[in-house]
Symmetry: C2
Subunit: 308 residues, 2 copies
Amino acid sequence: MKVVVLVGGVGGAKLALGLAKVLPPENLTVIVNTGDDTWMYGLRICPDLDTIMYTLSDLVNKENGWGVAGDTFQTIAAMKRFGEDAWFGLGDQDMATHILRTRWLQVGTTLTDITGRLTKKLGIRQQILPMTNEPVATIVDTHEYGEIDFQTYFVRYRWQPTVKSLRLDGIEATSVSIEVETALKQADALIVGPSNPWLSIDPILSVPGMRDLIGSLNIPRVAISPIVGGEAVKGPAAKLMVELGHESSAVAVARYYGDLLNGFVYDESDSEMVVPQQYATKFETIMKNDEIKVALARNVLEWIQNWK
Amino acid sequence: MKVVVLVGGVGGAKLALGLAKVLPPENLTVIVNTGDDTWMYGLRICPDLDTIMYTLSDLVNKENGWGVAGDTFQTIAAMKRFGEDAWFGLGDQDMATHILRTRWLQVGTTLTDITGRLTKKLGIRQQILPMTNEPVATIVDTHEYGEIDFQTYFVRYRWQPTVKSLRLDGIEATSVSIEVETALKQADALIVGPSNPWLSIDPILSVPGMRDLIGSLNIPRVAISPIVGGEAVKGPAAKLMVELGHESSAVAVARYYGDLLNGFVYDESDSEMVVPQQYATKFETIMKNDEIKVALARNVLEWIQNWK
């Protein structure tokens, strides 16, 4: 069974790892949000792509869920010596990724090819694809600071500002890459990871043509809720839902995806719920360790295979 | 007495440090070779500027004479993981310099202003100036590899290839900056450091207008020999002299500078020599420690003051 999973950062990476441990590598494609991407000191940073890459190569700092385990911060420390604010924690090993990616972008390599080159060198056999090759920037309009870029909102202000709205700068000029289109058309199942629907999945779905392409796929199209018991497992999802006028619940996530998806998975600790999707079930979804990641991946795959 | 010193890397940096410990900071300007500058992974590397900066800020790795003391090499190690050859040893602290410089160049800041900004942040009160704002690249034509760039010759192949000739790519499009011109016109003395005349000083003198400007200065214009007892104190100077058809001697260095300079300093261990310059003397020039650097600086300054 060929599976495509749509993900943002840490939560999505955990599910991707579970799927990677269950599926033959050639049967898994991970399509990654790039709305978080940013420029820092002239370097192109792709936080979600890197989180997926470090997770699937087992380089990841398992405490954070992002960055490289045991990484040092000498370059950032030296930047502070030069008077830089340096609030974005780029590790020294991590820096190699940003420097090489930026260099290859400069000479015209696509982000898809760069991601393929980096991940293959780390021994990753699954296909990891950016949602698009063209740059997009999630812009967060906040009560406190007006419009700020995503990393300023997320890292610098630790997602504490109140969000009025979100927009995706540059999204109209992006397109679905051949690689993404091919992976989706060949997929036997589409899984939307337990990532933030607004900050991580919406950018992917907003690439012109993506929503129609996904809606046209006559396959299981299943989301896993990032909201458990009305709270986000990690990060600003619940807070953001309320700020954007939604109820903070798994049902509200299911409603948000609507009939773009035909299946929905919520956590076993939540009470039974009625969702707009044709199929729904519950599993243990809080992926505290690798066993739960694998079990969730296996459970979801078995469940959708039984639809037929 | 306002002093301008022309330097390349390590040897010149030692003299600059001696002068910095003797002169009021506002009376010393260091004009630095940028023919060694190169691009690595999309980053602009200025080895000689950095050696001077790290030396005068006391950050320098005193064993090497270049790089930052105690620096680590995590980024370079991570680049090797991505399959990069990474033969140029960029330290993690050092990397901050290259990243910031590259960023500021991208937004149109001159190399002179960037150098000023970096050095001031490190507490350096002397003026450090690149020889020109425009990029130049020393190209080394070798018997073994044909034309290679300077760092490939110097670092990758450890100056072992046989040199047929040198050329300065882009030199005709460079110009003497306002800052360099002002410093030279206000100088009471010009000192050419014990740097490699062909690889370090010649690029400076080859900036269009530089040779005429220096020749027109009616002040002491003194070189310190980088050749002692027919050998280079450090690096390829002696080997290169022979390959380029010169005798490997201090006299040959003095002859090379000719009447552009009016004074010449050679090492006390060398026998008396007749040089084309009007004045010549000998001092202890092998700057093994800070005391000798200071003594050499003081000796040279006292000597030229007695010319009048």
